[in-house]
């Protein structure tokens, strides 16, 4: 014990770190702030450490060359003991990190913690978010599978739309005019050296400021932030009603970080690593590339925007968003912190969260793009529609497949979602309406008139006519029944 103490003193004499660390550990935090709401920042930092450790281990095996990258990931997945788990930890760690950083940011916004004197902490936080997203994107590219390949293609086409410098930007991004070996080297350098270096430096600075300025106090309605008096008020608060960070508050951070790491490990073990998907080969066209989870919302937005608005949106919206985030603490640096008195802030946060989840949800099942394999693969039309049907109706069910209606229309949950599900179509459309819809199309549906023979139309419509609940008759045209009654006596 004594030996250790001597050793410690020898080092501390020279390093001089003991005092500042002690000061940091014992700095007072307001009692109410030692709350479960304040654990996300530290969890994000712990996740960053996890990413650095797993990333270094991955880099020992990964080969950043266009010909080898994909193979080296498969070696990790299949040939090295627990290699798949390492990849899974890194992949899920990335997901969790983006999520935790976003939650952290929402919490800081909600608690007004960006106000004086913590403006710069917030601005650094915004850059940390951007860098985290940058890591997620470059990491997805390093996977160098089909999704990565097409994701890059889309990224490049976004960059190329920047006026004047577009082509130059693409060249910079891809390391040449096309996606090739140089592209991967470039992304590797960014993912492994440039962004993590900045991320780590910024994160340390961010934490330093949090410790120096003191953690944000629990917002109380009516407790107004003023530049002139804030520092003194905060000091008084921590004196009167505070406790030392260690051990008063730190155990919650530690517990939560451990729980998050455990959650990452569980997801990694159970859900496995991300890809790599198919080979990055542009000659394989039977593919539907999709971005990773956190870019799905963007994918959804771009799919819904009319083409003429895409370029302005892509160029202006991110710039506006970032400028807004950076400007926030300077525009609203004083005043109320409590969410009870900030209805606009609440409204903004909920609408952004809502829009984001809806768009992400849409992005996961891409209702706008037809399912190109539904016509031949997957489950057939359920037996209940075909077993007791007439031979003609059964042929209609085949027309429905062979003319690829199912790529856009689902029946029994199977099929595309470009057009409405047709399970109950006969109860809302009459025979004539069905014929018209098939022949002339309309909305976003192609007109099939010239591509169907009369017997195919007859079969198809007689099949569609069966798509109604057993206890509910199909929709019928009242005037046709009346006409039939009128005609009948004349023929007898």
């Amino acid at each position: 014990m004594r030996r250790l103490k001597v050793l410690y003193e020898w080092f501390d004499r020279r390093l001089q770190l003991g005092e500042p660390i002690k000061e940091m550990a014992l700095h007072p935090v307001p009692n109410k702030t030692a709350s479960w709401w304040y654990v996300f920042g530290s969890a994000a930092f712990v996740l960053l450490m996890l990413q650095i450790v797993t990333g270094i281990l991955l880099a020992l095996v990964y080969v950043p060359s266009a010909g080898q990258a994909w193979n080296s990931l498969n070696v990790l997945n299949h040939q090295l003991t627990l290699g798949w788990f390492l990849r899974a930890m890194h992949g899920w760690g990335s997901n969790f990190m983006v999520a935790v950083v976003l939650i952290h940011m929402a919490q800081v916004f909600l608690f007004g913690a960006y106000k004086f004197p913590r403006e710069l902490t917030w601005v650094l936080g915004v850059f940390l978010l951007l860098m985290t997203l940058g890591m997620a994107f470059t990491g997805q590219v390093l996977r160098f599978d089909q999704d990565a390949y097409w994701g890059l293609g889309i990224g490049a086409s976004i960059a190329s739309r920047v006026p004047f410098v577009g082509n130059w930007a693409v060249h910079m991004m891809l390391g040449g005019p096309i996606i090739a070996g140089a592209t991967l080297s470039r992304f590797f350098a960014f993912h492994v050296f440039v962004i993590p270096g900045m991320l780590l430096a910024f994160a340390c600075l961010h934490v330093w400021m949090v410790l120096k300025l003191g953690i944000n106090e629990w917002p109380m309605p009516g407790r107004i932030v003023r530049r002139a008096t804030y520092a003194a008020e905060y000091h008084k608060l921590t004196k009167k009603d505070g406790r030392a960070f260690v051990p008063g508050a730190v155990w919650k951070d530690a517990f939560f970080s451990a729980a998050i790491l455990a959650a990452v490990a569980v997801c990694a073990a159970v859900l496995g690593p991300y890809g790599p998907g198919g080979r990055p080969d542009p000659t394989i066209i039977q593919t539907a590339p999709k971005p990773d989870f956190f870019f799905l919302w963007l994918y959804a937005v771009l799919s819904y925007l009319p083409p003429s608005l895409e370029t302005p949106f892509l160029l202006i919206a991110p710039a506006l968003g970032i400028a807004g985030l950076v400007a926030l603490p300077f525009c609203a640096g004083e005043g109320e912190k409590s969410w009870h008195r900030r209805p606009v802030a609440i409204l903004m946060l909920t609408s952004i969260a809502l829009a984001w989840s809806v768009l992400t949800h849409l992005g996961t099942f891409t209702p706008w793009s037809p399912k190109m394999t539904a016509w031949s693969g997957g489950s057939p039309v359920p037996v209940r529609y075909t077993h007791d049907a007439s031979p003609l109706q059964r042929q209609g069910a085949i027309v429905f497949q062979s003319k690829q209606c199912r790529n856009c229309h689902s029946i029994a949950g199977v099929g595309g979602q470009r057009g409405p599900a047709l399970d109950l179509v006969a109860s809302r459309m009459t025979e004539d309406q069905l014929i018209r819809q098939v022949l002339q199309g309309g909305g976003n549906m192609p007109a099939y008139g010239k591509n169907l023979s009369p017997s195919e139309v007859t079969a198809l419509v007689s099949f569609l006519e069966t798509l109604h609940p057993a206890n509910e008759p199909p929709a019928a045209d009242a005037s046709r029944n009346a006409a039939a009654v009128l005609v009948t006596p004349a023929h007898q």
């Binding site: 798949w84 007439s390 039939a484």
Partner: protein
């Protein structure tokens, strides 16, 4: 207190996630993705090929779909490899069976089509004790429509009289070929209840000639202008 509830919830949540995902993933370990990693034209697993290209029409396990039940052992005993290969490669003329072979504009290579044929044989072909000689798969004799009509009236109408089962509907006949009719008359469709050649006429299996005659009769009912709108109107009036 609130803190305990929060962490408790978190633990429960991850546990729930764990349990539900165990269900869908099945096991913990290295990913089982060999098939997905292959180039699409290298896949030769029958299950995967069938599931991607055939199941929506022919049924998930080769029966119960709207098109012919390929898993019918009588059908597998009837048909020869060359015909199977030909239909899959170039489609079946006169029916809606599409062409899948690369030579005909599809996506399947010759090896993949061989894998499909071999897979069907391995899975669905049973050697049955050869009782009565089965009619040949391809027609070899010219049929006699008049005689066919007589058999049809005697043996088929009992089941196919009702409106619902009308195989004489001209739109239906325009969408099937003589060969696909012949296949169904011989092999039946056990998944739908259509009896095969041996059982359709009690105690008297159909001969090769009878099958050709029935198909010739159905052929004679084809119309030059099938599929006029409101086909059921004439019946109503």
């Amino acid at each position: 207190m609130r803190g305990c509830a929060f962490t408790g919830g978190l633990v429960l949540l991850s546990l729930a996630l764990f349990v539900t995902c165990m269900g869908c993933h099945g096991r913990i370990g290295e990913p089982n993705d060999q098939d997905e990693l292959m180039r699409p034209e290298e896949v030769i697993s029958f299950d995967r090929l069938y599931q991607q290209n055939c199941s929506a029409c022919h049924g998930e396990n080769g029966s119960g779909g709207p098109a012919l039940d390929l898993s019918n052992p009588t059908y597998q005993a009837l048909v020869d490899d060359a015909s199977l290969k030909r239909w899959i490669t170039s489609g079946m003329p006169g029916t809606q069976m599409p062409a899948f072979g690369e030579s005909a504009g599809g996506f399947l290579t010759e090896q993949q089509i061989d894998a499909l044929v071999a897979g069907m044989r391995a899975r669905w072909m049973f050697k049955k004790s050869a009782g009565v000689a089965m009619p040949s798969y391809l027609a070899t004799i010219v049929g006699n429509a008049g005689h066919g009509e007589a058999i049809f009236q005697a043996s088929c109408v009992s089941c196919h009289r009702q409106d619902k089962q009308k195989i004489t509907n001209t739109s239906y006949l325009a969408l099937v070929s003589d060969q696909s009719l012949r296949t169904i008359v011989i092999a039946g469709r056990p998944d739908l209840g259509q009896p095969d050649w041996e059982h359709v006429r009690p105690g008297q299996p159909l001969a090769d000639q009878d099958v050709s005659d029935i198909v010739a009769y159905l052929h004679s009912l084809r119309s030059d202008t099938p599929g006029q709108p409101y086909p059921d109107e004439s019946a109503k009036r």
